[in-house]
Point group: C2
Chain length 405, copies 2
Amino acid sequence: MVQRNRNMARLQAGYLFPEINRRKNALLARKPDAKIISLGIGDTTQPLTPHISKALENCGRALGTAEGYSGYGAEQGNPQLRAAIANKIYGGKVKPEEVFVSDGAKCDCGRLQLLFGPDVSVAVQDPSYPVYVDGSVILGQTGDFDSKAQQFDGIAYMTCTPENDFFPDLGKVPRTDLVYFCSPNNPTGAVATREQLAELIEFAKSNRSIILFDAAYSVFVQDPSLPRSIFELDGAREVALEINSFSKSAGFTGVRLGWTVVPAELKFDDGTPVSKDWTRIVTTLFNGASNIVQQGGLAALDDEGLAEIRRLVSYYLENARIIKSALSEMGYVTYGGENSPYIWTRMEGKGSWEAFEEILETCHVVTTPGAGFGPAGEGFIRFSSFGRRGDVEEAVGRLRRTMRH
Amino acid sequence: MVQRNRNMARLQAGYLFPEINRRKNALLARKPDAKIISLGIGDTTQPLTPHISKALENCGRALGTAEGYSGYGAEQGNPQLRAAIANKIYGGKVKPEEVFVSDGAKCDCGRLQLLFGPDVSVAVQDPSYPVYVDGSVILGQTGDFDSKAQQFDGIAYMTCTPENDFFPDLGKVPRTDLVYFCSPNNPTGAVATREQLAELIEFAKSNRSIILFDAAYSVFVQDPSLPRSIFELDGAREVALEINSFSKSAGFTGVRLGWTVVPAELKFDDGTPVSKDWTRIVTTLFNGASNIVQQGGLAALDDEGLAEIRRLVSYYLENARIIKSALSEMGYVTYGGENSPYIWTRMEGKGSWEAFEEILETCHVVTTPGAGFGPAGEGFIRFSSFGRRGDVEEAVGRLRRTMRH
């Protein structure tokens, strides 16, 4: 018979968000009338903006005409969209042919893990987005799960806590082939400064490592002194690739569109450009993002679309301000929530899942337990600012009534 | 430094279709005025049908409203669409929860290879769709390329030629964990009979293998005695999963939508349901097909959509008839093209790439060289019937003038 993939067997429990959903549904089974509000998963709630919605509508109509129909596109993406991303997001700092359009950052994470294969060693921020670790396990890049440490053997966990300003002490991090780094960070909301990114690049350069820089929340960076892309820093093109997404900027969580930038200078030890193998992965096991969705992405990057996105981002950032200031007034210590949609909150004296259950049970508010992002997230709760204003205000009201610290 | 993934280094040349595109562009560089017609890649050319186009248009508009907006959906797919596929395509023979909606068959092939991991052994039809072999190589399921045999070590190639009626002599095929089987076949156009599929299921059962049944062209089966799904056969649910797509039926090659059926009875040797690990793969490394695209899929499966699809399929099948009868009149021996959009043509005395180059050079018609699908495809050319009627007629006229056998 066919043996189960031993890498799959190594994974722990379910992927975090389905697990949270199961617990929410368990509450609903007991209390069918509970008006649950989610500040959990980073799921956008505001409608697509008019200009972008119109572009999808127009493309849907055009695909029904001989002139507007298109079949297979380039797996790497619509050339116009690749150029728009290179110019509008990166101000020309990357070339269109270095931009690979995808159906989202999560999917590209999986394909990148496939690109590097089972023999690479990996470092992740702790806490971090679960896909980095789970995907590495699936690819066989790790050892078994150490249930005492709550870590996988063979992964270097770079602790990011308030004590080190959410930036790892790189002097203590062993050399690995790959270094995942997310800024603005999911889940902590921390944004790396230019100095910190310069240090990270230097670290990768001296270790001859490759940084997988996850910039999926870059559009939330409002402070002009903070970098939105690792490619704003010198030396990044030799050591980093960057993953990004339209999910949180244009509200495309369900529409599905993202991209990865692989600079020409990024190479393996035998001189093979990483982009050569990446092109092979993308053309062989991916078939391009949907043509209609890519038209939506193009609309999101013209002047009208960019202005709409700025307003959408402001809306969620105002939610973040409301949540953060309420938690602060209630006596909680919070991080993030300023150049990021996430507010990382210390729950003194409580475990993450315990705090999660308590908030769910007493306030009917779904959050995300910090421990779900790695052992250093224990004792924290992540509040997401993706929600309708009224729901956010209602949730904050319930927290104020029952959770006073 | 980071070593290149040795599995990537094992791959041969480029993925087939980008390679063909390069040769086409080389001709255009020499003869910029050449009016090239493609009967190569199976790329749909006819506009989306009105009802489906309208559904996309409506969803694009709705996503711009508070009521019509949706964020993340279930990674497994819109429940309505899963139910529609189970009922309309499979007549209830599979359950909605066994249907996993994807962004296309090619992408799901890659994820399935990831699901099974590096330690499985693999059998493929020879010739076959290149993604089976290339994806297996990328996952590390194979050995090195044997340039003399033009095969990868560690893959069982099941020869499918006119001599065995395009169905492998299973008595000579070694036991493997996975068996890829595509019917209607890409590239040969052969459709397995009920008896042949029953034999394949028995073979898998006695070997305790899993069949990855690729039914991406099932909608082209017109002969009611021929199976459109492996699940029409008894015993299939214990040994097979099935991959399918809206690409060729609804013209979604660029729109991107497909699905995979993983029956509850399909299990690993330790009793773990394959669908459990598949759910973990899909929820961890995929984020669902685009919501707007899934609305298009739903429209394609209601009565109006299904009627439109039948007309679209008839159009391409009439193209196939035109190409096949012309080639036959010219003295070529052809296969397929009746319950399949592909016509597999023997090019007596010529190598595939030689014949490809000759047709490209003299007729300015792009085809697909059979050798690109595996060593047993050598000496054949695949003609695709996906094209506009006028182009197909023009291409056939050019072939008649210059390629008389």
